[in-house]
């Protein structure tokens, strides 16, 4: 610490030496010490990398039929074997990672944008806008989400990633909006907000400069936990044939493809299902780890 020159005043005021630590670097340090979360983060980085690589390279074509023996089991050239049309499962798994990650992250970007804006405005200004927002949130919670998503997909037209992301986001924005609204309601009553008002800060400054940064921790956790839920939703829609349209691979549609042959060639279902399961687990572990790391009461 830089308080080397001891003036009389700082004999009272000096704090025990501690390196320049911000809230975030502190959280980062704690996150790294959580082994499960660290491994999960590492694994997810790997899946992201694979998803990006699949844009330019996969071991085999993901859509050409007959590159492997149909229903062929794992072999040296095709470590995960082939599906019922003779497509290479490893290559399709890589493409499926891309679909899942795009849907998962894309949905959360939409959810964050909508949820944060709506939640901040409703929580800060309250009044009629808050009443309307709360009502709409409750209405959305009352409608079965699969129904909403399926109707939207039918209305907008099937198949494109954008449609699916939009449809899932419509069923998923409420959690974020409600969380941000609740955070805003509590933070707006804190004294530093009053102090900011007393120093002449405008509402925009108070909302984005003071309230949002203080709500960021829970928002990050919620967003991380929201990704697997979106991925699972997409897999489910694709499994039903209403998600990504063939030949583009999705872990859900790959599992659906293999279901009929599950007794003779379980590997066709197993590969995408395991990938899905491990990825969802990793997101949840990371979310839990972030929650612990960002909780200031757990300073260690």
């Amino acid at each position: 610490m830089a308080t080397a020159s001891a003036t009389p005043a700082d004999r009272f005021d000096a704090v025990p030496a501690r390196a320049q630590v911000s809230l975030w670097s502190d959280a980062w340090r704690r996150l790294r010490r959580n082994r499960l979360a660290a491994v999960s983060a590492f694994y997810l980085a790997f899946v992201f990398a694979v998803a990006i690589i699949s844009l330019v390279w996969t071991p085999y074509s993901t859509s050409h039929l007959g590159v492997v023996t149909p229903y062929g089991g794992p072999s040296g050239a095709h470590p995960l074997g082939g599906d019922q049309y003779g497509r290479d499962i490893l290559s399709r798994l890589m493409e499926g990672a891309r679909t899942s990650m795009t849907v998962g992250v894309g949905t959360q970007i939409v959810v964050l944008a909508v949820g944060i804006t709506v939640g901040l405005l409703a929580g800060y200004f309250r009044g009629w806008f808050d009443t309307v927002v709360t009502l709409v949130i409750n209405i959305f919670y009352g409608i079965p989400d699969l129904l909403v998503a399926l109707i939207l997909v039918f209305l907008i037209g099937q198949g494109s990633l954008g449609t699916i992301i939009f449809a899932i986001a419509v069923t998923r924005w409420m959690d974020m909006a409600r969380l941000v609204r609740g955070q805003t309601l509590s933070i707006r009553e804190r004294e530093f907000v009053e102090a900011a008002k007393a120093s002449g800060a405008k509402p925009r400054k108070i909302i984005f400069g003071h309230i949002l940064p203080n709500a960021l921790g829970p928002i990050i956790v919620q967003a991380t936990i929201g990704v697997p839920s979106a991925i699972l939703f997409e897999a489910f829609m694709s499994f039903l044939g209403l998600g990504i349209q063939p030949p583009t691979a999705s872990w859900g549609s790959m599992a659906a493809d293999g279901v009929n042959a599950i007794r003779i060639s379980p590997h066709i279902v197993l590969a995408p299902s395991l990938a899905l399961m491990i990825t969802l687990m990793a997101f949840n572990f990371l979310g839990d780890g972030l929650r612990d790391a960002l909780d200031p009461r757990q300073r260690r």
Binding site: E194, A195, A196, A198, S199, A201, K205, P213
Partner: protein, 352 residues
């Protein structure tokens, strides 16, 4: 004669709660001269903080300023548009709060928060405000200011945080600094330093200070004039020395007697004020202090006394005043300070 920088007239603030209307500030009037130090004293809930917040129109829901004038350099703050008041806050009228721990945003660097006050009013750009933030921290005697601006609030000690709050308040060289219990959350050695700092800054910068506190000791050392509030009203005002020596309102008298004194006879007990502050939804009839007043007379039950001159420069709102209480009611020898004890107007006779 110089014009007062702040002229408050008949200020009224009410809280519209589910249980009824609370009259938190009831007809408060006072003048603040440039460079003056004014203390506003009273128990918790007497309306002193609400008076301060009303001046800046920051009264929280469900409260509202319902009447009066707050003239700053001749312009009525209560009639201004939201933008005009915002322009005044933190620039001409700055406020510092009780608990520096919760009044600083925990996720923003201290220096940045000081800069914000300047950026909000465009009194400095990003670069010069950063330099000024360091200067301000030096001015409030924070050592190693250059590195402290980069610290987060949790890295500062309580005293340093309050100094940083004061630095924020001074960022735009305001003409009035309102300090709401600025030392209450601090320990005693640090309290003294903060008070000394405020006194120094008042003299160096000629910033007028309104010090709101329940602590008479704070006022004694700092303020040239004090206002004593009870149940939303001013009950006594005047020069600090004069009031300490010769309080005229029985409430002020009781407050001063409840202060521990180092020079007092060791066997003398501390006198607390019997009873509780009144319920402001249903305030007592007549003088609001009469249910607790040792010197009440029958008139106090019926009629509400107005502030009246009791000595040069000193005014009190009391039908009896301490001069009479000393002469006729043996206030000097009074040990028992229960309501009505001095005057013999007993509880139960008229209370029912």
């Amino acid at each position: 004669m110089t014009e007062p920088i702040l002229r408050v007239r008949d200020l009224e603030t009410k809280f519209f709660t589910d249980d009824g209307v609370v009259q938190a500030v009831d007809g408060v009037s006072f003048d603040l001269m440039p460079g003056e130090t004014l203390g506003i004293v009273g128990e918790s809930g007497c309306g002193k903080s609400m008076t301060a917040l009303s001046l800046l129109r920051l009264v929280p829901e469900p409260g509202r300023v319902t009447g009066g004038e707050v003239l700053f350099k001749g312009n009525d703050i209560l009639q201004m548009t939201a933008d005009e008041v915002r322009d005044l806050r933190g620039k001409d009228l700055a406020m510092i709060f009780q608990d520096p721990q919760s009044s600083l945003n925990p996720v923003l660097r201290t220096g940045f928060q000081i800069q914000e006050a300047m950026l909000a009013h465009h009194t400095a750009d990003r670069k010069s405000s950063a330099r000024k933030a360091v200067d301000l921290l030096k001015q409030v005697r924070i050592p190693a200011a250059e590195s402290r601006v980069k610290d987060y609030p949790h890295q500062l000690s309580g005293g340093m945080r309050q100094r940083a709050m004061i630095a924020m308040g001074l960022a735009n060289s305001p003409s009035v600094l309102i300090a709401d219990e600025p030392t209450t959350a601090l320990d005693v050695t640090v309290q003294a330093q903060i008070l000394e700092l405020i006194r120094d800054l008042n003299q160096e910068l000629n910033t007028a200070v309104i010090m709101i506190t329940h602590n008479l000791g704070v006022v004694a050392g700092l303020c040239t004039r004090i206002i004593v509030m009870y149940a939303g009203r001013i009950v006594e005002e005047g020069p600090t020395k004069q009031i300490f020596k010769n309080p005229q309102h029985p409430y002020t008298w009781s407050l001063l007697r409840s202060l521990p004194r180092v020079d007092a006879d060791r066997r003398e007990r501390l006198r607390s004020i019997e009873g509780l502050p009144p319920d402001l939804i249903h305030p007592p009839s007549g003088c609001r202090f009469h249910p607790r007043c040792p010197f009440r007379v029958e008139r106090c039950y019926r009629e509400d006394p107005a502030l009246a001159q009791v000595a040069p420069d000193q005014r009190a709102a009391c039908w009896v005043t301490m001069d009479r209480a000393y002469k006729e009611m043996n206030a000097g020898e009074l040990v028992d300070v229960r309501p009505g004890a001095g005057s013999g107007v007993n509880p139960g006779v008229l209370d029912g």
